[in-house]
């Protein structure tokens, strides 16, 4: 069983929303569409659902072309950012509604509704109206309705975005459970890298109407194939540093030339961009190989256990995520360290040529 997009594109009123793309999703898989707003996540979902027709390309389900099958006849379910329920019906009837349309017996409906409500922790409030529930419960109700449908394709468009932070945490923990228990293809759009990591499964990194990378979530995170994916899949944003390797020497943008160390020694001569995740931009020298770089402190944010130290390297904004509480003065200069073994190295065409050693372990 598979859901396939081939050379699918979408052009609306002369604006290209989706550039031709290929994507194959298998049944029982969770696929996270990750990217900033305007990356094309919602456009792609609408194409998948059949709400919009692709300008070019084919959408097929198990090899059957679906382009001309109207939405009503496709077996799909969709959950939106807004909590959409029937306000006049009880939670029970809301969840039961897709089954009633299908004409199932009351007994079969009851069984499915009870199962779904158990999973979504809605059992005590089945007789209430959606508007009497909290935001989290309303969204659980919408999710339960999508689940009982036994749809082949379940589309979730930023379903947790309107929920409180802690509620998000709870629902995120429960979601993977739901996904494994159902045989559907799940597509889940989010703007938050952490959410993608918590959900696991596969990730489709999107940027400006194109798929930057598709693969297992952790693999995409650890081995971004280019700077676009690295940018999309990093929170806080990844720090970038331009270097030139020549012989045994390393020219660092805006810095003195120094001897190449660690993983830098084996690089071919040429220009590179080094990508450093904020948690790998160290305030203390981690190893003898580490590259020391002078920066200016702009602001420090403290979360209680960690500190976000915002820095300026030339005119580039950097951020270091350091364990513990650090209070460097705003405007002061500071030395930060980059362990070559923790650095992503991209070539002049922004393609990744080397991932950190950690990535190889995992």
């Amino acid at each position: 069983m598979s859901f396939k997009l081939e050379q699918v594109s979408s052009v609306v009123g002369g604006n290209t929303h989706i550039y031709p793309l290929d994507l194959t999703l298998t049944a029982g898989s969770l696929n996270v569409l990750l990217g900033p707003t305007q990356a094309g996540k919602t456009s792609l979902m609408r194409l998948m659902a059949g709400l919009d027709k692709p300008t070019t390309g084919d959408i097929s389900w198990n090899g059957d072309r679906m382009n001309d099958v109207p939405v009503q006849k496709r077996n799909i379910a969709m959950v939106y950012q807004q909590f959409i329920n029937y306000p006049a019906m009880t939670v029970y009837e809301n969840i039961a509604s897709p089954l009633r349309i299908r004409g199932l017996s009351n007994k079969a409906i009851d069984k499915k509704v009870m199962e779904a409500s158990e999973l979504m922790k809605l059992t005590p409030m089945l007789q209430r109206k959606p508007l009497e529930l909290s935001g989290g419960q309303q969204q659980r109700c919408a999710l339960a309705r999508a689940l009982v449908k036994d749809a082949d394709l379940v589309l979730l468009d930023e379903p947790l975005a309107n929920l409180d932070y802690k509620l998000r945490e709870e629902l995120r923990e429960e979601m993977p459970k739901i996904f494994t228990e159902s045989g559907a293809v799940f597509v889940y759009a989010t703007t938050e890298p952490t959410e993608a990591l918590l959900l696991g499964g596969n990730t489709v990194a999107m940027s400006e109407g194109r798929i930057a990378q598709f693969g297992k979530t952790l693999d995409v995170y650890r081995n971004p194939k280019d700077m676009t994916t690295a940018r999309v899949f990093s929170e806080p944003p990844m720090n970038f540093l331009k270097i030139t390797k020549q012989g045994g020497e390393l020219h660092v943008q805006g810095e003195q030339t120094r001897t190449a160390t660690g993983a830098f020694t084996t690089l071919d001569n040429g220009q590179y961009t080094v990508g450093i995740r904020p948690n790998h931009l160290m305030l203390h020298r981690p190893s003898d190989d580490a590259l020391a770089i002078e920066v200016t402190v702009s602001v420090v944010e403290i979360t209680g256990s960690e500190s976000f130290v915002h820095l300026l390297h030339g005119d580039q904004r950097w951020v270091s995520l350091a364990h513990g509480i650090h209070h460097p003065e705003s405007g002061s200069t500071l030395t930060v360290y980059v362990d070559p073994s923790n650095a992503y190295i991209f070539d002049e065409n922004e393609q990744m040529v080397r991932a950190p050693e950690l990535a190889k372990v995992a």
Binding site: D164, L167, P236, E301, I325
Partner: protein, 364 residues
């Protein structure tokens, strides 16, 4: 600029409310210092928006007073309180240019154009918006609009406090970082009293000098990010701050020993607690260590689930029927034979009926 004093404040949306349960905001007495940044943190429905609206004058409290620098402003309307506010959704005057937007509050108060120009240019400079001053506000991005909303407050020199009502809701994650940082540096530079309402702990902790944690109409703790992390005064604070939140395990305490899930833990202090109280041991996932080999004072656990979020892993283990989560660094590979758990003794907190208990000196 002002010190804000909340005196015996309480509010109910039902004018005939008699029981405490009917109050959205229960008895609050606090003084918020001049020039500091505060965050009101809590889940939706905890009373934080009610409190904000009382400070801004959009709501009149059922009980108590609001004092700005010792002056009772409880009965003053919003416009006479000298406050500024940034809303959840950007509010700009669509038909005006950015310049006119920033000048609007000054023009309304009858300042002369020369003064207006000087202040607007100054604020535009601080907000890094000088190059868009002549653009219409309507066409700008959400984050630029939020900066204009803020700017309209900053141009007024006599503003007692700037209030923020979940200002980053509609901002993209990538820009959130930038805008949040700009807000923070703005505060460091201008030292104005700022009050920031949010449900997002990261926003609250990173922005504020002091975070006011609210739960069910009460202020449960006011503290610096470190205090909230190290010494949550209430189990709710432990749960709400940190992701995942603090682990709580039912305990029985005698002196400096706690019995949890049938195992004994040596504590760094001794406690005197009534038997009838509900006692819990609290430990943050950051201070739970898992290992393959047993060590002194370690307990047997089994690994249930691992969430790898890149920079670290969250490991959920089963500890004799209790769920405990631990944070494991990126470079440690976790396997199923990591069956030994140990707590950092100095980081253990003890809670009685949900409130933190301070321990006395241990007699051991």
């Amino acid at each position: 600029m002002a010190e804000i004093h909340l005196k015996g404040l309480a509010h109910s949306y039902d004018p005939n409310a008699s029981e405490e349960g009917h109050y959205a905001l229960k008895q609050i007495d606090h003084v918020w210092e001049d020039g500091k940044a505060y965050a009101l943190l809590g889940a939706s429905g905890c009373g934080k928006s009610t409190l904000l609206n009382i400070i801004s004058g959009l709501l009149h409290p059922s009980k108590g007073q609001v004092l700005f620098d010792g002056v009772d402003v409880t009965n003053l309307p919003t416009e006479e309180r000298h406050i500024a506010q940034v809303f959840q959704f950007p509010v700009v005057y669509d038909t005006m240019s950015v310049y006119d937007n920033l000048a609007f509050p000054l023009r309304n108060r009858g300042h002369d154009e020369a003064t207006i120009k000087e202040r607007v240019l100054n604020i535009a400079e601080i907000l890094e918006m000088t190059d868009v001053l002549n653009k219409k506000a309507r066409g700008l991005t959400a984050d630029a609009k939020q900066k204009i909303s803020l700017g309209r407050g900053l141009v007024r020199e006599n503003v007692a406090a700037i209030l923020f009502d979940e200002p980053l809701t509609v901002i993209d994650p990538h820009l959130k970082w930038l805008l949040r940082m700009q807000l923070k540096s703005l505060h460091l530079r201008l030292k104005r009293t700022m009050i920031y309402v949010t449900h997002d702990q990261t926003e609250a902790l990173t922005f504020a000098d002091k975070v006011v944690v609210m739960h069910d109409g009460y202020v449960v703790q006011i503290g610096t990010p470190e205090e909230l992390f190290d010494k949550p005064q209430h189990t709710f604070v432990g749960y709400f701050i940190g992701s995942p939140g603090m682990n709580f395990i039912d305990a029985k305490i005698t002196g400096s020993q706690a019995v949890i899930a049938g195992e004994t833990v040596e504590l760094a202090a001794s406690y005197e607690i009534k038997d009838s109280d509900k006692v819990e041991l609290g430990i943050r996932p950051e201070f739970v260590t898992l290992s393959a080999a047993p060590s002194a004072g370690s307990f047997k656990v089994s690994v249930k689930r691992i969430e790898d979020i890149g920079r670290h892993k969250i490991v959920h283990v089963d500890f004799n029927g209790n769920d405990v989560s631990a944070i494991v660094p990126e470079n440690v590979a976790i396997t199923d034979d990591f069956t030994n758990m140990v707590f950092d003794q100095s980081r253990i907190n003890i809670y009685s009926n949900d409130w933190l208990v301070e321990g006395g000196l241990s007699h051991d």
